[in-house]
């Protein structure tokens, strides 16, 4: 079977919407267009029913006891902002310290930076070479003033999955709230707020085959009852936590996406795990000096991140971008000229951070696509190595570290 190009293998950035999700959403754009807050007519009632059904479906997927614990937002970034800023403001009397990790998404890290400017203190716990946050390091960072631990469930670049239940247990033990950015994990691997002791959880619809423009923040209501200050004031929607009309079609789609993820998770993750392993094995066994980034087992089944020594990431993407959509931790793909802080945090050296490529498989990825991407990656890397002065030096037996590089 001929492969249809271009191939999308960048599912950490976004996922294609499941056609069943679109189907569920469509009536809510046209005949069921009511405002969910309209209490006195049927247009409002049916819109509200759609929004509440979505809430129930999402609550079920993450093991929340009560759909009321789900607060709709505009996406993962807003949920992270709301969780951190909302807790910081509400619990200011109790404490002013937050513990997080160095590999969090920027929505968490930049929010922390802002909170620091407002007088809070933040500890950024490092990660091991495999990307795992040591629970004991978190314990060691806690102070009497700590009000919140925020550690992502799974990383967006390397896919490494953290020890959620252990961190949750530690938080409970110390009476500290536990927030997790589970944007990459929800819908892909089992996430259970009860079993993992999660008090606040961020997720986003478009990372799980739902629509762009909607996310959610789970806010625990019992054991403990978590209270957060709103960031957006107005009509008091979402029980006063997030004012603004809930985008009904998006909420309906989010719920449907959650329902389908719940049904297909076991099957999808097993299939994608096998395909990912095939892709990984093919590349690592064919190309010398390629390195897997992140933990080899504790990672998302659809995620693969590899550094190709001596070639620069963006140049690899450029060789593939007509046929395959991928992402790189290379500085040249960012606006800052800094390579990925996540890969750098693993201690692999900046030159390998510049050489990292991220693959993200998804529900609609086929084996033919995986074979094609493996084949083309190998071709492009080989071609670029032929024109790499570093590869030439390494082949001559020169230790690259012995050269006095003249950095710009």
């Amino acid at each position: 079977m001929a492969v249809k190009l271009p191939i999308f293998m960048d599912s950490q950035s976004t996922t294609p919407m499941d056609p069943r999700v679109l189907e569920a959403m469509l009536p809510y754009f046209t005949e069921k267009f009511g405002h969910p807050g309209s209490r006195n007519h049927s247009f409002g009632w049916e819109a509200e029913a759609g929004v509440e059904r979505g809430r129930e479906q999402l609550a079920k997927l993450i093991g929340a006891r009560d759909p009321k614990e789900i607060v709709y937002t505009s996406g993962g970034t807003e949920s992270d902002n709301l969780a951190l800023k909302g807790v910081a403001e509400m619990y200011r009397e109790k404490g002013t310290h937050i513990v997080t990790s160095v590999i969090e998404h920027r929505a968490v890290l930049d929010t922390c930076r802002r909170l620091e400017k407002q007088g809070l203190t933040v500890t950024y716990v490092p990660v091991a070479a495999d990307g795992i946050v040591d629970v004991e390091a978190i314990r060691g960072a806690l102070t009497a003033k700590t009000i919140l631990i925020s550690v992502m469930t799974a990383n967006n670049e390397i896919g490494t999955i953290q020890s959620m239940a252990e961190i949750g247990k530690l938080a409970k033990e110390k009476g500290i709230l536990f927030h997790t950015d589970a944007t990459q994990a929800v819908g892909k691997i089992p996430v259970d707020v009860e079993k993992m002791g999660i008090d606040l959880l961020t997720c986003s619809a478009h990372k799980m085959y739902g629509p762009k423009g909607i996310g959610a923040l789970y806010v625990r209501r019992r054991g403990p009852r978590v209270r957060i200050a709103p960031m957006i004031d107005g009509g008091g929607h979402e029980r006063g936590t997030r004012s603004g009309t809930v985008p009904v079609p998006l909420a309906v789609g989010f719920g449907k996406a959650a329902e389908i993820c719940g049904q297909l998770m076991v099957e999808d993750s097993a299939r994608l795990g096998k395909l990912r392993d095939k892709l990984q094995d093919k590349i690592l066994s064919t190309v010398d000096e390629t390195y897997l980034n992140g933990h080899p087992e504790k990672r998302l089944p659809h995620n693969l991140n590899i550094s190709f020594a001596y070639v620069e990431g963006e140049s690899v993407l450029m060789g593939l971008n007509k046929e395959v959509a991928l992402s790189s931790g290379s500085a040249c793909t960012s606006s800052t000229l800094e390579p990925s802080y996540v890969i750098a945090a693993l201690g692999v050296g900046a030159e390998l951070a510049h050489s990292s490529i991220r693959y993200g498989l998804h529900r609609f990825t086929t084996e033919e696509e995986v074979d094609y991407v493996a084949h083309r990656t190998i071709e492009v890397v080989k071609r670029l190595r032929e024109m790499s002065p570093l590869y030439e030096l390494a082949k001559e037996g020169v230790d690259l570290k012995s050269i006095q590089w003249k950095a710009e």
Binding site: Y310, V311, E312, E314, S315, M318, G319, S330, A331, C332, S335, L337, P339, G349, A350, E351, H354, E386, M387, S388, P389, L390, Y391, E392, L400, I403, W405, K406, A407, E408
Partner: protein, 136 residues
């Protein structure tokens, strides 16, 4: 970010990829950049010691598509130029030719550095011999 057609052309069909022996008569080598910065260029010129004209140039580059294109273009421009004229190549010429966006200007700067480094190496190694050739 979309690449200009010229960058894509140089990336897909790089001119003059390769290496000369570093000690070959008339060869000057420049190695600039650093792996941790994500860009390393090796640019070599081969100068005719009788005429002072750059007869051939080769490069190898570790870097993004714009870095590859900048060094590929540089080798194209170097061929046939006298060493003195080669020193007149400015990074802004490369920026204009390849239509590099602001975020990629450092690639052109590196290419200019590579040209200068190769010429410096050539002059250090071969200036005396060249002078001898021209006076005899």
């Amino acid at each position: 970010m979309a690449y200009s057609e010229k960058v894509i052309d140089h990336y897909n069909n790089p001119r003059n990829v390769g290496s000369f022996g570093k000690e070959t008569a008339g060869v000057g080598t420049g190695l600039v950049g650093a792996p941790e910065c994500g860009d390393v260029m090796k640019l070599q010129i081969k100068v005719n010691l009788d005429t002072g004209v750059i007869e051939d140039a080769k490069f190898k580059t570790f870097g993004c598509g714009s870095a590859i294109a900048s060094s590929s273009l540089a080798t194209e421009w170097l061929k046939g130029k006298s060493v003195d004229d080669a020193l007149k190549i400015k990074n802004t010429d490369i920026v204009n030719e390849l239509k590099l966006p602001p975020v990629k200007i450092h690639c052109s700067v590196l290419a200019e550095d590579a040209i200068k480094a190769a010429i410096k190496d050539f002059q250090e190694k071969w200036a005396e011999k060249q002078a001898a050739a021209q006076t005899s």
